[in-house]
Symmetry: C2
C-alpha cells in the first residue's frame, strides 16, 4: 500500500478505537467493538477521505462520515455473515457464532444507527444531500444482498443480472463513499456524479477481479483456497460467461461437473473448460473496459491533475492486486 | 377511539399504502408491504402528527416523518419477532415464518433505511435536530431490546432496572415521536423536552398497564390469554414488586410456583399472592404517578389549552383502555 493510503488507514483505525461506545449493555456493544477491531482494508472510508480531499477538505473534517461508512459496511458484513452462516470473518469467529444470532441481529441494527449518527456530522448545508446519497446507497446494498441470495436458488442468471447484483451489493458503496466525500467538499452535481461513477465502475471491476483471482490467483498470495467458487458452483462472472458460451462437448462437460460434488479434479476440469473457452480473457476485457470507464469519469473532473493522483494510484493498485 | 385519533389513523393508513415501494426484488419488498398492511394502532405517527399540530403544523406537512416513525416501529417489531421466535404478529404469520429468518433480517434492515428516508423529509432548518433525536431514540430502542433479552436469563432484576428497560424499549419512541413533531413545529428546546417527557412518562405508564391487564384484564376485551405473563414467569412490574415485598409464607409460595410449569392453577395461585400483597394497588399507584407527571409536562407548555386537548384526550383514553 502506498503511504497516502496507509496514512489514511491509520486515521480510520484510530478513529474507530476512539468511538467511545457505551460499556452497557455489554451484549450489545461488546460485539460492535469486536467487529470494528478485527481489521479490514478500510477502503471505503479511505475513498471518502480522498474524495473530500480532492475538493480541499482536510481529513479531520471528513473523519466522522468516513467512520460512518466503515461502521455501515461492517453492519452489512455482520448481517450477511448471519445469512451466509459464515463461521469466520477475517480468521476470527463471527458474532453470531461467538455470541448468538439474536445478538448479531441487534448489534448489527445498532451499528447501522451509529453509522447514521456519524454520517450526519457534516456541515448542515450539505447534510440533506449527504444523507440522501447515504440512504439511497444503503437501500441498494440491501437490494444487492437480496439478489445475491435469490440467485443462489435460480437455475439461470444472465451476465447482466449478475453485473447488476454486484453493482448493488458492492460497487455502489464505493461510489457512495466517494460521492459523500465530494458533497462534503461542495463539489458540483456533475463532479459528484463523476466521482460516484468512477467508484461504481471501479467497484464492479474490483469484484470481477475477485472472481478471476478465485480461479487464476496464486493460492499463497490470494489467501484462500483457489477454486473455492468452482467447488461451490458459485455463479460468478466466469461461470456465467462459460455457461453462455459453451456448446457441444464443452456444454455437456461443464454441466456434468456442475452436477457433481468434487475436489481438485472438479477445479482442474472446470478451469480447463474456462481455458478452452477463453473465459479469463473475456473477464479481463470486461475489467479493463470498466477500469477505462472509471478513469474517464475521473478525468472529467475539472480539478488540477495532482489532486487526482491519489485516487488514480489507488485505482491502479486495486486493479493490480494479487489478493 | 375519538374522531381526532381515527382521522389521523386513516391518514397514516393511506400514507403507508401509497409509499410506492419497488416491486423487485420481491423477496425484499413483499415482506415490507405485508408487514405494513397487517394493521396496528399507529399510535406513534398519530402522536407525531398531534405534536406537530400543537405548534401549528398541518398533518400533510408532517406526514412523511410520521410514516417514518411507523415504518421504524414496524422494523423493530419485525426483528424482535425473529429474536422472540414469535409465530404470529397481529394474528398473522410473522415474516420469518412466512418467508425465512434471512429475509426477515434483510427486509427489516431495508425498512430501517426507508424510515430514515421518510424521516429526513422535513424542512432543512430542523433536519439536524430531527435526525439527532430520531437516531438517539433508535439507539435507545436497541438498548431496551437488549436489556429485555438480558433480563430473561438474569436471576434478579430490580424494579428500577425494569422501569429503565421499558422506558428504553417502548417509552422513548412515544416521546421521540412527539419530540420530532414539536421540532417540525419549531418549538423551543424547553417545549420539545416537555412534550418528549410527556410521551416518555405516558409510555412507561402504558407498559405498566399492559402488565396489569395481563393479570387483571377481562380476557375477552384484552384479546389474549389472561395470565400469560404468569405462566411464562415473565419479569413484569407485578412479579418484580411481589418478589421485593414477599416474605415468610408468601415468599415460599411464590418461589414454589415460579419453579413450576403450570396452567390455570398457577395463574390463580400467583394472582392470589399478588392480591394478598396489594400488588395491583402498587402498580396502579405507580401508573397514576407517571400519568400525573406526564400531565405536568403537558401543562407546562405555553400554548392555548385547546391546542393540548387532543393529546390530553388521547392520554386519558390510553390510560382507561381495557385492551
Amino acid at each position: 500500500m502506498s503511504t497516502s493510503v496507509t496514512l489514511r488507514q491509520s486515521l480510520i483505525e484510530e478513529g474507530l478505537l476512539s468511538l467511545q461506545l457505551p460499556s452497557s449493555p455489554a451484549n450489545l456493544y461488546d460485539p460492535i467493538r469486536y467487529m470494528l477491531s478485527i481489521g479490514g482494508k478500510r477502503m471505503r472510508p479511505v475513498l471518502l477521505l480522498m474524495g473530500a480531499e480532492m475538493f480541499g477538505v482536510g481529513n479531520q473534517q471528513a473523519l466522522a462520515p468516513a467512520l460512518g461508512i466503515e461502521v455501515f459496511h461492517n453492519f452489512t458484513l455482520l448481517h450477511d455473515d448471519i445469512m451466509d452462516k459464515a463461521p469466520l470473518r477475517r480468521g476470527k469467529a463471527t458474532i453470531h457464532e461467538k455470541w448468538s444470532p439474536d445478538i448479531a441481529i441487534l448489534s448489527g441494527d445498532t451499528m447501522f444507527v451509529k453509522s447514521c449518527q456519524l454520517m450526519m456530522q457534516v456541515p448542515s448545508s450539505v447534510m440533506p444531500a449527504v444523507m440522501s446519497l447515504f440512504f439511497k446507497t444503503a437501500m441498494e446494498v440491501c437490494e444487492g444482498q437480496q439478489l445475491d441470495m435469490d440467485f443462489q436458488s435460480m437455475p439461470v442468471v444472465s451476465i447482466d443480472q449478475y453485473l447488476n447484483m454486484i453493482r448493488l451489493k458492492t460497487a455502489v458503496l464505493l461510489g457512495g463513499s466517494l460521492g459523500v466525500g465530494a458533497l462534503i467538499g461542495n463539489a458540483s452535481a456533475d463532479d459528484v456524479q463523476h466521482l460516484y461513477d468512477f467508484g461504481v465502475n471501479l467497484g464492479v471491476a474490483f469484484q470481477l477481479q475477485d472472481d478471476i483471482l478465485d480461479v487464476y490467483g496464486d493460492a499463497e498470495k490470494f489467501g484462500k483456497q483457489v477454486g473455492g467458487d468452482i467447488l461451490a458452483n458459485k455463479k460468478t462472472f466466469l461461470l456465467l460467461t462459460a455457461l453462455e458460451l459453451a456448446d457441444g462437448d464443452a456444454e455437456i462437460e461443464l454441466k456434468h461437473w456442475l452436477a457433481k460434488d468434487g475436489g481438485d479434479d472438479k477445479v482442474i476440469a472446470v478451469t480447463g473448460i474456462f481455458n478452452r473457452l477463453g473465459i479469463l480473457q473475456r473477464a479481463q476485457q470486461k475489467m479493463d473496459d470498466l477500469y477505462r470507464e472509471a478513469m474517464q469519469h475521473l478525468d472529467a473532473i475539472p480539478v488540477p491533475q495532482e489532486r487526482k493522483s491519489m485516487l488514480r494510484d489507488l485505482a491502479m493498485m486495486l486493479m493490480q492486486r494479487e489478493q
